[in-house]
Amino acid sequence: MKHHLILKVITKFMVGVIVLFGLYVQFHGDYSPGGGFQAGVIIAAAFILYGIVMGLENVQKVMPIWFAQKAAALGVLVYALTGVFSIIFGFEFLNYHAISPEHPKHGQHYGIILVELGVGITVTFVMIAIYYSFAGRTPRLDDKEW
């Protein structure tokens, strides 16, 4: 994709907008439709777009393979640690009252934001890692039907 100038310029502009929209969906998910699952897919779609237009080599400079594969586990860790946090303070697993015991409502709100963040991180990096695995593979057999 060396000669497609318009596509490249538009992509450079759109990637930022898509990531911004993904962050809006992630953190405004309590008030409007959205949440971690959707935001993860949207942010991953931005990276996929960059990979398609600019080439796999360039997107892997921005987001290396090892980072995507390891960060996928980080999201589950954030989620589970939120639960462990409430165990430490003497509540049940994933009971967000532990975050601010005098304001249970605020505790719930913070807990939901943390948990959605964990979900978003996992989904984003899992989708990016899946895309890398599919796109970074040379076809080992030639196709006769072209």
Binding site: V25, G29, D30, Y31, S32, P33, G34, G35, F37, Q38, V41, I42, A44, A45, I48, I52, Q69, A72, A73, G75, V76, Y79, A80, G83, F93, L94, Y96, P104, K105, H106, Q108, H109, G111, I112, V115, E116, G118, V119, T122, V123, F125, V126, M127, A129, I130, Y131, S133, F134, A135, R137, P139, R140, D143, E145, W146
Partner: protein
Amino acid sequence: MALTLKHLFAVIMLSGAFSLVSAMLFVVMDAVDVAFTEAAVGAGVSTVLMLATMALTVRVQKETKKPILLPLVVVCLVGVLLIYGTLDMPNFGAFDSPAQAHLGSTYLNITYKDMGIPNVVTGILASYRGYDTLGETVVVLTAGLGVILLLSGLKGRKDKE
């Protein structure tokens, strides 16, 4: 239509269009969050993954010589059974159906009191059913790990020879 088309390009494009239509149907049936997810997945990721698979496999379906009668009979039988199962169900959009009676309305009433957020779906997803969502996240991670392990360049039968 995926039945008759030989060219897999067209099949993948039509499945993209199907995802669009289903997202619109979800909007009409008040499931905004679900429509959001379906839109993000259908527009962003699934077409690209299907195309990447096609790049590594084949583009045109071969002629199948499979018998068509037996699958047709089985499918019709399943359909009759399922439709028989729906005869007892309440009408579409009924107020007095058992699904609406207990848990759903309770969640609608208590979510704002407990958490102070207006999106009930997010509240249930992250707080009331937090265990469930933790499990789903782990499933997504496991599926991703499976893909990474399968496609990370381990040697196949042909290379060993």
